[in-house]
Every structure is written in C-alpha cells, then in structure tokens.
Subunit: 403 residues, 2 copies
Amino acid sequence: MHFPPVDHQILHLKRGVEEIIPEQDLRTKLLDAEKTGKPLTVKLGCDPSRPDLHLGHAVVLRKLRQFQDFGHEIVLIVGDFTGMIGDASGRSKMRPALSLDETRRNGKTYFEQASTILAPERVQIVYNSEWLGTLSFEDVVLLAGKTTVARMLERDDFAVRYSKGDPIGIHEFLYPLAQAQDSVEIQSDIELGGTDQKFNLLMGRNLQKSVGQSPQVCMTLPILEGLDGKEKMSKSLNNYIGLSESAEQMYGKILSLPDALIYRYFELASDEETTELPRLRQFASESPRDAKHRLALSVTRLYHGSDQAEQARDHFERTIIAKQVPNDIPSFTPETKGPIGLLSLLTMAGLTSSNGAARRLVEQGAVSIDGEKVTDSRREIHTEKDTPCVIKVGKRRFVRVVG
Amino acid sequence: MHFPPVDHQILHLKRGVEEIIPEQDLRTKLLDAEKTGKPLTVKLGCDPSRPDLHLGHAVVLRKLRQFQDFGHEIVLIVGDFTGMIGDASGRSKMRPALSLDETRRNGKTYFEQASTILAPERVQIVYNSEWLGTLSFEDVVLLAGKTTVARMLERDDFAVRYSKGDPIGIHEFLYPLAQAQDSVEIQSDIELGGTDQKFNLLMGRNLQKSVGQSPQVCMTLPILEGLDGKEKMSKSLNNYIGLSESAEQMYGKILSLPDALIYRYFELASDEETTELPRLRQFASESPRDAKHRLALSVTRLYHGSDQAEQARDHFERTIIAKQVPNDIPSFTPETKGPIGLLSLLTMAGLTSSNGAARRLVEQGAVSIDGEKVTDSRREIHTEKDTPCVIKVGKRRFVRVVG
C-alpha cells in the first residue's frame, strides 16, 4: 500500500477537528504506515438504535472518508451490546432494546446511508455483541478493575448528574469500559467521535495501553448545531437535515439556517477546499443570502450530485426568489406527519392568532402558498408531499414549511 | 418441624445483637415458620482467604448456632468468587487469589473450625462461584443496574476513601452486588454479619425485593475487640484468640484482657445466661481479677469442655497465682514463631534495654520463668511449646509471653 505524503495527510485530517490526542502519535502512526505499507485501522462506534443519519453524523463520516481516500481502513462498530447497557435503567428485567434481527437491519440501514459518504467496498462492519456477549463475570471484574470511580465521575455528564443528585446506575459505569474493549478487540489505531465522546475515546486508549497494545489516537470532531442554531442536531429535536432527504428538502432546509451558522456549515458539512475557507468566512458575513445558496448547492451536491443540486436551486429560484420571498424567512416543521389543515398550520406557525382569524384571512384572499393564492379554507398541506413550501400571509409575513 | 415459642426465640436471638433490620420482619418470619413448619434459611458469607477462625468470628457463629438450636437451617457461603473481586486491584490479569483446590481446602478448614460451634450435620456449605461463575456480561449489566453510584458511595469505607481521594476500582462496586446475588440464589430469610457488613446485607435485601423474593432480615453483630482492647480482633494484628488454640493458651490470653473488656466478652463470647449479664457487669467492675477467671473458664469450656478448661485454670493457679504473679500483667507475643533466645525476648518485650543488660540480669539470677530461676543465658523459649509462660525480672517486672 502506498500513501500520500504524511504532511499532506495531516494538513487535511486536521481540518475541522476539535482535538487530536496526542497529536504527535498521529504523525508517528502515519509514518509507521508509510514505512510498513500497512494501512491504519480507524474506528467509529455507531448507535444502532438511531438508524437515521443526518448532517451531524456526516461530520465524523466525512472525516472517515478522508482516511479512506488516503488508503486507510475503516471499522464501523455497531454497538448492539453497548446499546443494551444504555437502555437498562428502570427495567426490572434486562431486555435488549432491540432484537438481533432489528440490530442487523438497523446496522444495514446505517451502512446504506453511510455509504453515501464512505467508499462502501472498503468498510468493515462488526457488531460488538460478538465479543462483549462472550465475556464472563470474571472478565467483567477484570475490565472494571481497569479504572476508578473518581476517574469515571470526571466525565462531564456523570459529574453533572452526580452533583445534581440524579441517579447514575452502576451499569452505566460499564458502558465506557465496554466500548473501550471494542478498541482492544479491533486493535484500532485511531478512533473518531464527537467532542462528547472524548472521555470514552480516552478510555479506549487507556485500556489498550493496559493490555500492551499501541494506544489509539483519539480524534474528536465538533458537534454540529441544528437548524435552530442552538441545540445539537438531532432527530428528536426536529432540527436536522437527514442524509436520505431529497435534494429539494436539503437545499430548502439549508436556506433556513441562521446566518451565524453559515461558515460553520462550510467548514464542517461541505467539501469546499480548506484553502477557500478564509474567503468563505468573509463571504458569509458580507452576503449571507448568496453564501447560503452556495452552501446549499455545495452540501446538496455531496449527497445528490450536481444535477439534482442545481435542479433544487432552480426550484427555489422559481418558486421563491422569483416570487420575491425574502431569503431569511423563518422555517416551521409541524410536529405531526401527514395532512394538516391550512388553518391549523397558520396558527401553529404563529402567523395567525386563531383558526377563526386564519379563516377570515383565507376568505379575504390574503394567503398564498408558493405564490398561488388559496381561497379554500379546507385546504390541507401534506407534510411529506407538499413540503418544502412557502406560505405568505398579507404582504410581509412568510414562513417556510419543511417536513 | 416444631419450633420453640416465637417470643422465646426472639428473646435469645436479640442477645448481643447490634441491629435487626427490620425487627418486625424477624417476628413475621418466625411466625410463618411456626405456621408452615418450614425452617428459616439463615445465611452467613465466609471469606475463604482467612481460614483461621478466632473469637471474633465466633460471635456470629454462636448466633448461627442459636438459630440451629431453634430448628432453623444454616447456609455457609464460601465466597470463592467474591474473594477474587476483592483481590483484582493492581493486577494486569485476573488471577484468582486462590486456586479452586485451595478454596475447597480452606472451605473445609473453615467448616472444621466452625464445627466446634455449629452442629455440623445441619450446615449446608456452598461456593458462590457455582452461580456467580456462570453469569454473562449481560447478567452483570442487569445486576449493576439495580443500584446507583450515589447509593454505593454511601458505604462508609467507600465514602472515606472517595473523600480522601484514594482510588476505588469500579470492580469493587460489583462486590456488594455479587454477594447480594448470593442471597437471591439461596433465598435466604435472614443474613448475619458484623456491623461492618450492614451495607452489604441491605444490598442483599434490596436485590431480593427487586426480583420479587421475600426480602431477608439483616442481623448485625458487634465487632469484637482484640486483646489490645482497641482494634478489631484479627490475625494480622496479632491480638486474637484462635478457636483452635489449646485450652491453656485460650485461658491465658483471656487473663491478659484489659479489665474494660471483661463484660463485653461475657456478653459476646461466653454462654453465660442472658439473665446473669447484669450481675456479671457488676462483678467485672468490682472484682476484675476474679471475673476474668470466671470468663476464662466459661469461654475455654465452650471450645474444650469442662475438664480441659479446669485443668487450664489449675495450671494458671499453680504457675502464676501460687507464685504471686499479679493478674493484670502485660502480655507479649513475639513476631516470629519457633525458638527465640531468652535475652532477645527480654529486650523485645521491653523488660531490658539491651541483650547485654539482659545477660547481666540472668547471670545475677534475677530472671525466672513460671517461677523457676533461669541461669543459662543461652536458654530459648519456643513460641508454641513453651507458651503461655510468665517471665519475671527482678522483684516487680512481669510479662506474660503468649504464642
């Protein structure tokens, strides 16, 4: 195996990364790979109970893809066993959150979605129940003896819960150790994760040391904020852009991003050249409207190719820009799926104070959808078929409805 | 099965007990036994790494014997698996502290010594590796999920170590849970232990509740102080009276007890009638010398029978009382076993400032052993064959040497 020059790899691998612990070891491992011709093993742990991937997951997956492009090997660990630990609290009897069938199916879905980013022929997928499921109590005692209570309570989330008096189950202390054992099993050279995974990643490093393995380099990536511009992108907060969403949905959702996030998405979610980033930062602050379109095109292209991305842009130009919809209008995502009455939707989106007020506005001809006036107050909007669309009330009130 | 009246059982079972949690449940369980004719299962966990039993262990064992005498069943759990957890710290690889052979051998020794107190034909001995050794990681996760970090850190010793910043291995949190699982396995009705075991006993009670069993009553007994009158009796502190010691050794060691402990030993280590205890308290404070002889006779009789106990008393009367040795002389136990030179012994016991000084005293005829003058400065005392004995230096300095 032949790899690009180490300095070149490091330059690109460091882009958008929060921390590399320790950075010197990354260089050493890359130099070793160059010397021996043996690719590095790069680990990512996946949660099989959340099979819907979004741009937040893509931050880490795209970093994995870089490693692949440089010739290294990727191991995706589907945490079917560790997922069970996370879900044990409050149960009187241990029931895996997912059956083996579901786990395998979700693992497959995860892999299919991740394949829009990764080179699928060079990904190894393993299920950690394969080894964790064979451990005896004696093995667990040995594993548990590798760290201390004080060390465990240093983890941010445990520290907060402990100081607030919220219960932490003893089994939760086994989670970081179990996923650290994954690193030992696959002898990973590098593990990637969000910044919230730093503690767990370091636990893997320590466990490898304790059994005499060369310890993995821990590489943490920022947590991408969702469409609300505040919270971590997640399906449960409904502030996400799914990897399997259509080009139009993706493009439209990116247009609804708060301006303050434009540059962050260029850095973490697009494939704009690293050397371009300083100019894009300026562009985002000087012309946020245009920058947002470039970002939407750039990100959508990654998942749907240039043709579809450009069609999505054309759609938005036709239906929105041509109809003089301002660019920075708020977006609204209904809580329920399927058809929703227009009057309820107007009220829920905050455009009207009541369904009665909404009816009067429709009857006065003051409401339009994507530029077309609506006169039937029984009109329904389907959250999947009819979105994204822009609803206009009166002359100046807009909302973009996204599914 | 027919049992004595419940009130009679309770009166005697409560003697010398620190806590019964909850006391009402003890009555309920005894009433149930009376109704159904089914004896109660009384659990005691034994540490197989400490096979030498002493009067401290006897406090709990004699309480077990009471249960036997009332018709109930005793289960001794040899903690061969839990013993391993305790010893995991600092090891890179799990090695049981004891091999299976050693565990079985120590279990047998434990049983033989305990049989001087228990009715051996009605004791069931089980090894907890039988069930704990079969648990999978999944089972351990379920078990660990039964309690919380905060609850575990309430245990006195953990609390102290945590606040002092001393490391507590995560595996140590598994110990109370593992021995609690023992209660579930044998469906114990009552568990006995020293006051230092209270937390663990309650954990057993909670675990039984969580799986729908009738929870055990926890009965804690005081920790008996050793010959120094301060520390818990233990072999490692060399302040103990072993159950397998000869009648003379036992009698002699009891004579060397500090006066303040006489009543406590009457209460916890003798079989004097419960109704006699108030009078014995007065006796101990008014005539400690005579009370100590009664105590020594009473305790020695328990383990060696009346004949041997009386012979021991006669020995001490001949060699000590007759030779006007004061009763409350200090006792000294050499650190090494086997023969020790008299001169070294005198110095180690603090009777002389140097071996040279000791030699001069022997040559002057100022030293005697059990009333016989010693003139040979090369004389040796064998810690096992020649003890207990009283060495006198000059007119007023005595020490009782105990093996």
